[in-house]
Amino acid sequence: MAIETLPGPSIPITRPFRPTLGFLAATPIIATATACLLLIVAMAILAPYLAPHDPLLLAPAQRLKPSSAEFLLGTDAYGRDLLSRIIFGARISLLIGVGAAIVSVGIGLVIGLVSGFFKWVDAVMMRVMDGLMAIPAILLAIAVVSLSGASVVTVLVAITIPEIPRVARLVRAVVLSAREEPYVEAAISVGSGLPKIMWRHLMPNTVAPLIVQGTYVCASAILTEAILSFLGAGLSPETPTWGNIIAEGRSYFQIKPSLIFWPGLLLSITILSVNLIGDAARDALDPRMKQREGGKA
């Protein structure tokens, strides 16, 4: 039996997926992105405690004040504290971003799993998805918001719908290739039912690509929300969102550029951080990218 201890074959070994968070600090750039995002999240959560003023409080006497000890970033055209508005604006942005990611991944996962497994569902579903993908996201959002009024929910729905087909297609592709794997056939032959095969043998394959896709959806949702607000098709103008702040600041750009600068900067940093983390997640979760770095196992 001594032969059994032979050195193992040099075939690359597929490790089970274990969500480790080590990749969040893989390089200095990614570590910075993670830190920035954590700060912004903390800022959003603790907004009521951090904000020095009420973001909605109008004070016409304090219009367009420059930075001072009382108003760190100055005030806007209605005398509201810019810093407080930006801090509260992070809440909406992140809520929309995370919400859109979770909802679109959730719905897309179900659609993808079902259409990856049933041919007849696939034929119908994928044509519907094709149709959805053909609609420009912003246009759909403007339509939905103008039909049913602006609220966080309608904006979220408007932003999520066009993202669903992308997620569904991704899941479907993973399922189509995974269901050919012998271990899925083995599960069929030991009599496992459909739900079990989907949940246990197919679904886990989609986790890694979905995490990556989720971050991209999140980033683009934050951006779309800001665009909608800027265009006046988003949440009502008094609500502190980064898009709204920029939209209002536009008129006073020449007098007080910081009205656009600060929310714009935060928006860029947030989206850049989320995208960088998404890239890092893709690299960490894709065995092929790993091979490129580390060489043969």
């Binding site: 059994e4 050195p7 012998p182 009599g191």
Partner: protein, 547 residues
């Protein structure tokens, strides 16, 4: 024979540049002379491919680094040669052919152009001379209709033809050294035989030195002048073909040879009157492909396949790739639906049953797949994998896991393997796990679809032994699908030979594999590499027969 073409001295290849890095190749010395074939044999992970890639200078940059020793090609040191010089040397002085000719050829260029590229890069010949030389070379590798093939794309050619193109490409500049890395492993036996003969003949005509890498002792016996046995990055033993096969001095080499299954069928077991557990009647599978304009293309993968399998017996289905043997296996397990004919499993007709009605019958027939790296879900523990079947059929979880422990011991794995994941096991161990999963449901029939083909020969022998033991203990009937006649000869009671989706010959193994009635069976047997050797007894077959 005296002048040395390739001279490898004390080669060390490490994983990375650090001084303490793991040595993948540790002090290997080899030499190959003009007109000589040196076979490097070893199991997976023995470092035989890394050795050949070091010679070609094709090691993965940065991760595998030659850190010691020397490689000389006709006196010229290769380890210190510049990239530019290495590019010149490849093709002109040394060339390599690979296992998978499809991936080694560019799919979007006609093969003639691809050979032409070699000539254009390394010679100043004009177009007409180049073409003439290429056609001449293609003729030498015995390709038919060379004008047509010259302009063909790789996907239009068969595996054997593609490998011939690779050989033509490798030899067109008359290199001194040809490295062949498992060049026939992906080919059918009959094609393998032709390619081996071709390499031998071309070597004789051109005086090329050949470094031939293989894991197959049969191939070694066919082609080698000298043999070098490698294991774990070290050279275990080297010597002339005869001395290695007849009188191996090293224990490992002996083990390797003893593990090679003999082509002579094992002693037949007495006929039994046990009940028939599996019957296939005129089974057929036609793949229909409907094109856009409505014309239907039909491919018959299996036709009129009739098989009978009794309790406790083993029926082998042998055939080359594309013969339909796997299609038959998958139809019988109902992973795909047969288009005609019937399957009776333990007295019940199952070929027409819907998925739902099939459910209670599934447990009576189980399958073990070829690739143990893909047949176990990497994200599920071994215990859960084995227990999945029994749980599906109503066994309580705790009981099923307890049974999984017992089964692991039955297949010679520690019971605590239950909570580990598949990647923590070697290929042979994984195949044992797959077998444990299959027998967890106490099936009447176990289908083994090339179940030992992906395993190293020593591991293969152990798994075959295990299957035999399980059959003896549980009385399972085995349907054994294989392309390897040696394996079939050692495990099957009856053998069915398939070609083009039909059974051409069927009968007791001893009969079919020693006195084949059909020309095709005879051709298959003739092509089996190393058929003249009885490896396990260290002597030619003739000597065994004379006893």
């Amino acid at each position: 024979m005296t002048d040395t073409v390739l001279d490898i001295r004390d080669l060390v290849v490490s994983l990375g540049r650090n001084a303490g890095a793991t040595r993948i190749i540790d002090g290997v010395s080899l030499d190959v002379g003009r007109r000589e074939t040196l076979c490097v044999v070893g199991e997976s992970g023995s470092g035989k491919s890394v050795t050949s890639l070091s010679v070609m200078g094709l090691l993965q940059k940065g991760s595998l680094v030659p850190t010691g020793g020397s490689i000389r090609l006709v006196g010229e040191e290769l380890l210190t040669a510049s990239d530019r010089r290495m590019r010149q040397l490849r093709a002109t002085r040394m060339a390599m052919i690979f296992q998978e000719p499809m991936t080694a050829l560019n799919p979007v260029l006609p093969v003639g152009r691809q050979i032409d590229e070699v000539l254009r890069a390394h010679t100043d010949l004009d177009a007409r001379t180049r073409r003439k030389r290429i056609l001449d070379m293609m003729d030498q590798v015995r390709l038919p209709e060379i004008e047509r093939i010259f302009a063909s794309y790789p996907h239009k050619l068969s595996g054997g033809q593609r490998q011939r193109i690779m050989i033509a490409m490798a030899l067109v500049l008359e290199p001194k050294l040809l490295i062949a890395d498992e060049p026939t492993t992906a080919l059918d036996v009959t094609t393998q035989k032709q390619i081996l003969t071709l390499i031998r003949d071309l070597q004789r005509d051109h005086g090329t030195a050949v470094l031939f890498i293989t894991h197959d002792m049969g191939v070694v016996a066919e082609i080698a002048d000298r043999v070098a046995v490698m294991r774990g990055g070290r050279l275990v033993e080297t010597g002339s073909l005869d001395s290695i096969l007849r009188a191996p001095t090293n224990e490992y080499t002996r083990n390797l040879l003893v593990s090679v299954p003999s082509l002579v069928p094992r002693a037949p077991r007495p006929e039994t009157k046990e009940p028939v557990v599996l019957e296939a009647n005129d089974l057929g599978k036609v793949y229909r492909e409907r094109s856009f304009l409505g014309s239907t293309r039909e491919v018959t993968a299996a036709k009129d396949v009739t098989l009978i399998l009794r309790k406790g017996r083993t029926l082998g289905i042998v055939g080359e790739s594309g013969s339909g043997k796997s299609t038959v296996a998958r139809c019988i397990v109902r992973l795909i639906d047969p288009t005609s004919g019937g399957i009776r499993l333990a007295g019940c007709e199952i070929s027409e049953l819907s998925r739902r009605l099939l459910q209670p019958h599934r447990k009576k027939i189980q399958i073990v797949f070829q690739d143990p790296y893909r047949s176990l879900n990497p994200r599920v523990t071994v215990g859960e994998t084995i227990a999945e079947g029994p749980i599906n059929y109503g066994t309580p979880r705790a009981e099923a896991l307890e049974k999984a422990r017992e089964l692991l011991e039955l297949v010679d794995l520690p019971a605590d393997a239950i909570s580990r994941y598949p990647h923590q096991f070697s290929g042979g161990q994984r195949q044992r796990i797959a077998i444990a999963r299959a027998i967890a449901l106490d099936p009447d029939v176990l289908v083994a679809d090339e179940a030992v083909s992906a395993l190293d020969v020593s591991v293969q022998a152990q798994v075959l032994e295990l299957l035999d033991e399980i059959q003896g203990r549980l009385g399972i009937a085995l349907l054994f699908i294989t392309h390897d006649l040696r394996v079939a000869a050692q495990i099957c009671d009856d053998v069915a030979v398939m070609q083009h989706g039909r059974i051409v010959e069927q009968g007791p193994a001893g009969e079919v594999l020693t006195n084949p009635k059909q020309a095709y069976t005879r051709a298959l047997l003739d092509a089996a590499p190393g058929r003249g050797w009885d490896f396990a007894n260290f002597r030619p077959v003739a000597a065994t027969a004379a006893e």
